[in-house]
């Protein structure tokens, strides 16, 4: 049985794609977008999340830790040596914590676990035209797992969707990537220097993948553009996007706005939010962008 790593499974996910859906969040993403609101999905390995508000200062984590990776700070709260935690096989602290303040983000799962859930929910999908959506992280970085899930849906004649950032190895997914019923393709920024600076990687691979995928499924694709201050909140970026869409035949864009609601998650992971605080998107940006893209013949979703 094929296994994979996920960090969440969400039922009744009604915002992404048609009908009532279940979204599987596959763990691991090569990009490190500074505004990412799912930082717990970035690393391939398991992450320890510490939810301060739930902590009862019971120190059970300190007591049960087999690797001596816990220190207690002056405030009585635990600090975790997370590089060590990541290698911990049993993670006894998760079950020992009195307040359920410790959580593993990321776990191994089998395709069977997900198909069982799908089968239980089948009537809800059938009545609404919904199904399964693979999201992440970058789901196509786990090609075998993703392929097995797509196959499982195909066998059930069930809709299966994809949310991708495009940063995957085409040769590994070529055989099934055209089979998705819809694809939300996340594009950040066309200026490669800025792309590198804000995401840690070049945009060359993902733009190439965009063109390849559009060759198979342009009409089933929607670009997701999250408007982020400095990164892509200006017309130059938008016209580059419009050009790409025209060249590839992709017709729809979903516009989202940068928010910092994920800030707490960074804290729980022992990381700091890498995006400057208080940097908000001007209210005029999204309408302006929508107007521009519409003038280029693109259809805007969920404005």
């Amino acid at each position: 049985m094929v296994t994979g790593r996920i960090f969440d499974l969400q039922d009744l996910s009604v915002q992404d794609g048609p009908g009532i859906r279940t979204t599987a969040f596959l763990k691991g993403c090569p990009l490190r977008c500074r505004w990412c609101c799912n930082p717990e999905g970035q690393a391939e390995a398991f992450d320890l999340q510490y939810l301060e508000g739930l902590c009862r200062l019971c120190r059970q984590c300190l007591e049960v830790c087999p690797l001596s990776a816990v220190r207690i700070g002056a405030d009585g709260r635990p600090r975790f040596l997370r590089d060590i935690c990541r290698r911990c096989p049993d993670k006894p602290c998760l079950e020992a914590c009195h307040g359920r303040a410790l959580r593993a983000s990321g776990r191994e799962t089998r395709v069977g676990e997900i198909t069982r859930l799908i089968d239980a929910n089948m009537a809800y999908y059938r009545n609404s035209g919904g199904g399964l959506t693979l999201s992440g992280g970058e789901p196509l970085r786990q090609p075998a797992f993703a392929r097995a899930l797509v196959d499982a849906c195909r066998r059930r004649d069930l809709s299966v969707g994809l949310e991708t950032c495009g940063d995957f190895d085409w040769s590994e997914v070529e055989d099934f990537v055209g089979a998705f019923d819809f694809v939300y393709f996340d594009l950040k920024c066309f200026d490669n220097e800025r792309h590198r600076r804000f995401t840690g990687r070049s945009n060359a691979l993902l733009l190439a993948n965009f063109r390849r995928l559009a060759g198979l499924a342009a009409l089933r694709m929607t670009v997701t553009l999250t408007l982020v201050p400095e990164v892509n909140d200006h017309p130059k970026e938008w016209s580059a996007l419009a050009r790409l869409c025209r060249e590839t035949g992709v017709r729809r864009v979903r516009l989202l706005e940068y928010h910092d609601l994920g800030r707490e998650k960074y804290r729980s992971l022992g990381r700091s939010f890498a995006f400057p605080e208080g940097l908000g998107l001007k209210k005029t940006v999204k309408p302006a962008c929508a107007k521009f893209l519409r003038s280029k013949g693109l259809k805007i979703e969920r404005e």
């Binding site: 969400q10 009862r56 079950e95 809800y124």
Partner: protein
Amino acid sequence: MAAKGKEHFGEREIRKQPSTKRVRNMLARYLSSPLMIDVEYIRRYTEAHRRSEGLSPLERRAECHASALEGLTPVIRDGEPFVGSKTRFVRGAIPYCNYACRFVLSEFKREEAEYQDKVIDLGTGGGIAKARELSAGGDYEFFGKKFLLAKSDKPVLKACAEYFQGKCMQDVGDALWKAEAERADYIEKGWKAGLYTAPHDPAPEGRYVLDFETALKDGFEKIIGRMRAKIASAKPDESGAAEKIAYWKSGIRVLEGTIRWAGAYAAEARRLAKAEKSARRREELLEIARVCDKVPAKPPKTFREAMQAFWFIYLAGHIEGSQLGYSPGRFDRYMVSFYRADLKAGRITKAAALELLEALRVKMTEIEYVASFSWEGLGSGNLFQNMILGGLDDKGRPADNELSLLVLQSAINCQTTQPTLSIWYDERLSPAFLRKAVDCVKTGCGFPAWFNTKVYIEHESRKSGLPVPMIRKYAAMGGCTEPTMEGMSYGVVQAGFINHGKLLELAMHGGVDPRTGLEFEKTAPPENYAGLRAAYETHLKSAISNWQKYWNQVMVGHRRTCNLVYSSVLVRDCLERGLSLDDGGARVNGTPTTLSSGLVNVTNALAAVKKLVDDDGKTTFAELLEACDKNWKGFGRLHRRVLDAPKWGNNDDYVDSVYDELYHVYCDAVERQVNYLGKPYDPSMLAISTHTPFGKVCGATPDGRAAGESLADGVTSPMPGTDVRGPLAVLHSAGKIDHTRIRGGLHNMKFHPSVLHGCAGGRKLLDLIKTYFQTPGFQIQFNVVDSRMLRDAQAHPDRYRDLIVRVAGFSAFFVELGKSVQDQIIARTEHQW
């Protein structure tokens, strides 16, 4: 965050206001009016009672009510398109001393009316705040913590209450059950321990629907004629003939009094017309006078006349009894013919009809209810008037029509708490109607609630044996979530609930309540799952049977003192049979239910014991008991394990099967006993707001709940924070039980507005309902709000005066709810993605 104001929150997608200035003014008047006690009715009732000694109980009741009703001051407020007010005040309540006088007297003594009142808190915002402001002026006094009573009315009310000592339903009923019930001590201990909700002093009538169809079609004069004919043809030598004649005479007295009451409004309208400066309003008042002379004596012809007739017929029943759950039934079915005829004849426009329906919402919300405040805390002042739309006709075809749509639109426009709307759901209801219903959900008012027609039809046909076509056509809702047959069934539900949490505690402690030390049945101290379950079942069965026996005695007292005459004439078969409601005259007498709440907590506790003690051997029951007694202090590790044990609402058969078994144990136990009308009791489960006070009297329980924490609400809603596998898993769990066994039941789901956004969001909601009802679930209702918004409303009630949320089976103004109920609403798992 709160300071930033509303733009910070997810906006409610749909927000409207009443369509005309007239209704906007009515709503504004309502929102700024204080809650008042009006003594007029009870003063007149008491006077009549003093002079009517010697009449049979039914005739005396008729005389008292009719003479009180026909002498009420008619109040016509500025701009009202149809008239009739329960009291002289916009928001007025009648203190029914004939039902219960003790809480009135103890209120005067500034005593805590009931032991349990200590654990119930009331709201402080809105109209209640207004009352506080006025009482500071000096002419008024506070009554029942949120009402105002004119200082000059105080001696009147006191005299009424004193007169009814020993005569009111409560005192007569108490004398009976204390003498007759086998285990009277059990009931009293049950109240003290919090095993039951407070005693029956508010004695709520209700949970039924009048036969509006016949009353509108024939008019009261024809019904009176029928009774006269019955009397004329009664054979004096027949057994029971004298009682039957007394019944018909009582009925005639009350209907004639009701016609005179309407006539007083006609006179008042004419008087006002004379003084009216605006020509338009003068015309209107004269038209009102004409209509009030006609209805309800004669059948209405136009929609306007029918609205006035409906309101008189409905309101008169509201005045006769201390009603809760008394409802208008299938309004869209029995009113649509008037609307259609008017449209066809060009007598009315859609807009004009909409205005009337919006005004009706304000009028229905104006009716207030006063009781000892232990009940106030539970019901949050709501009268549970439930208007149900859609459904099927007798042939099984979808029955929604153009008036159903208009009623929904009136609720979208005119956001008041009453009446709550419900939908008898069927997949074939028209798309336009379903879409409009979703729009109404999107306003965030918490209704309509959705009910599965198929499930109820199966329940009712099994219980009462009525033909299916009749059930389809007349299935209605009497109260928050309890179905009833419109115009043909009767049942004063037990004015109390059984606390499953307390039963669990008794089982854990060998039959002793740990909080009060009171001893109930002795049961063996449990050591494992089987022991705990057996002890729980023992306590459950005796709590149910003692409560039912007690209530049957109380209802004997009801029959002697407060039997409903008006409703007895307007519920099918009473008139034919010559029998009042309390004598079993209604066509269906199996409606009385036995209510309970907290089964989810018991289920989770039993599952935890099964898992940790029996299966895993990780702990002993003794250790678990000690941990609960110490409220988990020093047992952090164990508490964690308990919380990790399987919980209801995650589609986990390990625990869901426990729920299913207990559910049948409960239903079997309830059905074992016969009600005061000679039919088996019907099981029901809901919470209203009992889960909060019930939780307060319970210590920590092995489901991981801390001492004093609220129990789970609803019937199938999970304990907040324990449903970790998402909302579909919750619905899978809820769909596993046989909903056809109970009369009523509810399932709460809360959505962030963004989930339902747009057409697609609305369609998904409908698909969700459709699928859940295929499982088949019975009921589902939605809160579309944002918990941040609710917290802000808690902090700044003045900014959120109009914010309505759904609490259990009813909607309420959020700012008027007690803080603990507010907290519970906020905590209810918010489904936001």
